[in-house]
């Protein structure tokens, strides 16, 4: 039975959430109000809708009233939607026929001291949810088969650790290493901190283990050239020894391409004097043997790192590396003086401070310098080096005559990593390293499903941390492979062939290459590759491309419903602002603002979108045409979009809309783009308050009704 074709029969369940909602919002009034809405055949209030009692009431009502849509007005869908969706499914209702109205985080908790306004706001929020519910469609979640094999790009300690983990779980593994030998950076190191273990012995034992595994194919002198497909079905083309093409199919990909140490050409005499070397070169020297008769060694920290421009980040590991090598020198020859010249010493991590203290005890000398007055290295006539240091602590210069200067240089992304980014269509951060989907929630994954990340490809890390992340990536990769099939999101792009004119705008904007452009211009959505951001839908000039569950004919009715009635007198003084909020950031920030009980005006109504890049000109235009005083489009921080750069595309559209509004004689500043993260509830509240003030300062727009009555010319509409 196709429930979407039937006349909607909507059930509305309004939750008191104990006193969380009920203590501010007059829930009974909201229920009575919901009953007056078209297509609502049942409405009730629950003490806790999410309790087992509340859930069984939903199920009973679905059967008793033959409901084909369910609206729950309670808390945020970000936490409770899955629960209510399952409940609907248990009662035989497709879970996409469920809609949620957030009257707790975005209402009762945000307007705690204005119960009357909160109640009216709750009515508006519920009305909008009902409006969307009318147009919901049942959706299927397509299942895709997962090839039980993994590709690991990079055969360093991270890649090999991940490979061993996947191999142990019984999956076929391909390791692609660009060098002739596996082992990565560890092959070149002398010892590992804090254990002091021999680095090359350690990595050799791992390489041997990998070589012994029958289900691991180790391809050395090989680079990945082409990757097609999507989670479960990646087709890989690699080039071995620059000539032989190797092709294979994998279900998941782990990026473990590592990093390289900066060669600080021109810094502190590097490249000019042969006794100036990097820590990495020093370790290679130690592998041959510590030079005899060393009297003094100076190590300079942050060489080329934490700069104003260029490499601005801290490479994390260098302080510990310097401590390790200083202790080694001291251990070999206690008569050698070792100086560590530093800006800030960051002996972070378990046991590392002890390491620092040990170095102090053994007589390693620490001298601070400042970024403004870095040390100066020069060569003396007797062939020794002289390091001039200005110590801000004693306010004087210190000159050290030494045999060796060792520079602690940062780890940086390499060209091979940069080349891989467009091949995999995964993002690099501003620091050049690969960017994870979310620093806390998805730290070992890319935004694209089935592609994972570990080790120093993701940023400077020591071996222990790299291995921990490698195991995390491997276990994440194993989940779909162990299952064999994966249900993908039903929220995918879909094209209406009748409306499409074949311009290719959708093809161009898709961040995931999920839309194919056929010869005569027809776009075709590759469902398994579509991540559901809706950028294509907002870009389509014809409205032919739509995003399921967030179609124009589902979002526009929400906007319309907000303005279809005269505002209640209680709210009349508030400007009417529609905020299209990205579910990953702005919507979440508003949720957290509620949790923190941050108070803000009742002016703003949020409409949940998967990405700010889904917001279409028609949504904004409808809002203004219907009577909105302002429109906020709120997306993630500039380099934090979950769909690579949907927020940047949104900003471009908002700017185009500003210009258009200006031409029409309504102020372009009535629409604004905001960038924030889920962790910025205060910024969300500040944005709402400031934007409301901005709107209040502008001359009042004529009401939609007045506009309707005037002549039907564009300029008169507003």
């Amino acid at each position: 039975m196709n429930k979407s074709k039937e006349e909607p029969r909507i059930g509305v369940f309004v939750c008191r959430c104990g006193s969380n909602i009920g203590g501010v919002v007059d829930v009974t009034k909201v229920v009575e109000y919901a009953k007056t809405q078209p297509n609502v055949v049942h409405a009730e209030e629950n003490f806790y809708t999410c309790s087992s009692e509340g859930l069984s009431k939903i199920k009973e009502a679905i059967v008793k009233h033959n409901l084909n849509r369910v609206v729950v007005a309670s808390c945020t869908p970000r936490t409770h939607e899955p629960l209510f969706r399952v409940t609907c499914e248990e009662a035989g209702l497709n879970k996409y026929l469920f809609e949620m109205a957030n009257i707790r985080e975005h209402c009762s908790w945000a307007h705690m001291h204005e119960p009357e306004k909160a109640t009216e706001s709750a009515k508006e929020i519920v009305r909008m949810a009902i409006a969307k519910a009318r147009f919901l469609e049942p959706l299927k979640e397509p299942e895709i088969e997962i090839t039980p094999s993994g590709l690991i790009i990079g055969g360093g300690v991270s890649g090999l650790t991940a490979a061993l983990s996947l191999s142990e779980q019984g999956f076929q593994v391909y390791v692609v290493e660009k060098e002739a030998e596996a082992g990565g950076l560890l092959r070149k190191l002398h010892t590992l901190f804090p254990s002091g273990q021999d680095a090359s012995d350690f990595i050799k034992s791992i390489v041997e283990l990998v070589k012994g595994r029958r289900n691991i194919t180790l391809l050395t002198s090989t680079v990945v050239k082409e990757v097609n497909g999507y989670l479960g079905n990646f087709e890989i083309t690699a080039l071995q020894n620059n000539q032989r093409e190797v092709r294979f199919k994998v279900g998941t990909i782990i990026v473990a391409t590592g990093a390289v140490s900066l060669e600080p050409a021109g810094l502190y005499g590097y490249g000019q004097f042969d006794k100036v070397m990097t820590q990495l070169e020093f370790e290679q020297l130690l592998n041959i043997g510590l030079p005899e008769n060393l009297e003094k060694v100076v190590m300079i920290q942050c060489a080329g790192a934490r700069e104003e421009r260029g490499i601005t980040y801290c490479s994390r590991i260098c302080c510990n590396v310097a401590l390790k090598n200083a202790l080694y020198i001291k251990g070999s020859n206690s008569n050698t003086d070792v100086y560590i010249v530093y800006r800030d010493l960051e002996a972070y991590g378990r046991g590392y401070v002890d390491y620092y203290q040990k170095a102090q005890e053994q007589g390693v000398k620490f001298i601070r310098y400042t970024q403004e007055r870095p040390p100066n290295v020069m060569k003396e006539s007797d062939g020794k080096l002289k390091v001039e240091i200005f110590s801000p602590i004693i306010g004087k210069g210190i000159d050290i005559k030494c045999d060796l200067v060792v520079l602690s240089t940062p780890l940086i992304q390499h060209q091979a990593g940069r080349d891989l980014s467009p091949i995999l269509k995964v993002a690099l951060g501003t620091d050049g390293f690969f960017l994870e989907a979310h620093p806390k929630l998805r730290p070992a994954e890319f935004a694209s499903e089935g592609i994972l990340l570990c080790g120093t490809a993701h940023g400077p890390k020591d071996a222990t941390e790299s291995m921990a992340q490698a195991l995390a990536a491997a276990s994440k990769a194993s989940i779909p492979m162990a299952k064999g099939t994966v249900k993908t999101e039903a929220v995918k792009a879909v094209v209406d062939k009748e409306l499409c004119v074949g311009c290719g705008a959708c093809v161009a904007i898709c961040p995931y290459n999920a839309i194919e452009w056929l010869s005569f211009g027809q776009p075709r959505v590759i469902e398994a590759a579509c991540m559901g951001c809706g950028l294509c839908a907002a870009e389509c000039p014809m409205g032919a491309m739509q995003l399921r569950h967030f179609k124009d004919n589902q979002i526009v009715p929400m906007v319309n419903s907000l303005f279809e009635l005269e505002r209640n007198a209680v709210l009349k003084k508030e400007p009417s602002i529609v905020c299209f909020a990205c579910r990953w950031c702005a919507y979440a920030a508003a949720d957290t603002a509620g949790v923190m009980r941050l108070q803000y005006p009742c002016s703003v109504r949020l409409i949940l979108v998967p990405c700010s890049g889904r917001v279409d000109a028609i949504h904004i235009l409808t809002a203004f045409a219907r009577g909105a005083d302002g429109v906020m489009v709120a997306g993630c921080l500039k380099d934090g979009c979950h769909y690579i750069d949907g927020n940047i595309k949104a900003e471009r559209r908002v700017n185009a809309m500003k210009e258009a509004l200006d031409v029409m004689g309504i102020e372009g500043e009535r629409v604004e783009m905001f960038f924030l993260s889920a962790g910025m509830p205060d910024k969300f509240v500040e944005s709402v308050i400031n934007f409301t003030e901005r709107i209040n300062k502008l001359p009042k727009l004529r009401s939609a009704r007045e506009r309707e009555e005037s002549a039907p010319s564009v300029s008169n509409r507003f």
């Binding site: 004119v501 161009a508 027809q522």
Partner: protein
Amino acid sequence: MYQIDSKKELAPDIKLLEVHAEQIARKAKPGHFVILRVDEKGERIPITLAGCDVNKGTISIAFHEVGKTTMKLGSLNRGDYIMNVVGPLGNAAKIDKYGHVLCVGGGVMVAPLHFQAAALRDVGNELTTVIGARTKEQVILREEMKKISSELFIVTDDGSEGQNNLDFLKDLLKTRKIDYAVAIGPIVLMNEVAEFTRPYKIKTMVNLNPIMVDGTGMCGACRVTVGGETKFTCTDGPEFDGHSVDFEELMVRRRMYVPKEKIAVLFYKTFGECL
């Protein structure tokens, strides 16, 4: 003011207008284009000629109603006027006796292809023709093309008529000796045809359609990279050697105004007026 002598619907949203423009008709050749402006506030749009009749003093233009301006143009009827038409612009397509010519056209551009193919046929070429569209309703001028071609293939992206992709051209090129090829239509199509003919070193001409402003070589909006050199489509083209065109760049440049165009269409649809 240029009066519309006749109007014909070739397919839903695809219209063919015969416009009275004696002076243009006298000089018009296949490959030429005109730039027209529907009314005083209108945007200037380039359209490749789909035909001309010196005796009647008319030129033909075919267009797909996809944007604000083409929608407005499509709303005009016989007897209505177009504000102004400039042309013929660009260089005429090279019409010569090559032998066996492969003609490929897509969507609305089948109309100008017909103009060019008929000329090629008139000088004694044998034609193998491929026409297509996204779906069968949008395939135009089947009969007209059939008349001048020794064989005709139809392709639709959704497979609703004929083949569902151009891959059959690979086999076709193996079995027939093609001496020259012409492709007019979507960028993907022109790019594909050029790639198919490249191994056989068959000269393949494509008719480009970048964003254009004045059409007389002054502004440079229509610049394209051909064989590593910057060319102006309006004065150096619009016909170029398909094996030398940087299609990738052309695609990127064509998208520059997508968000603004979208808003313009929305306003036109909503209020029936331009911004």
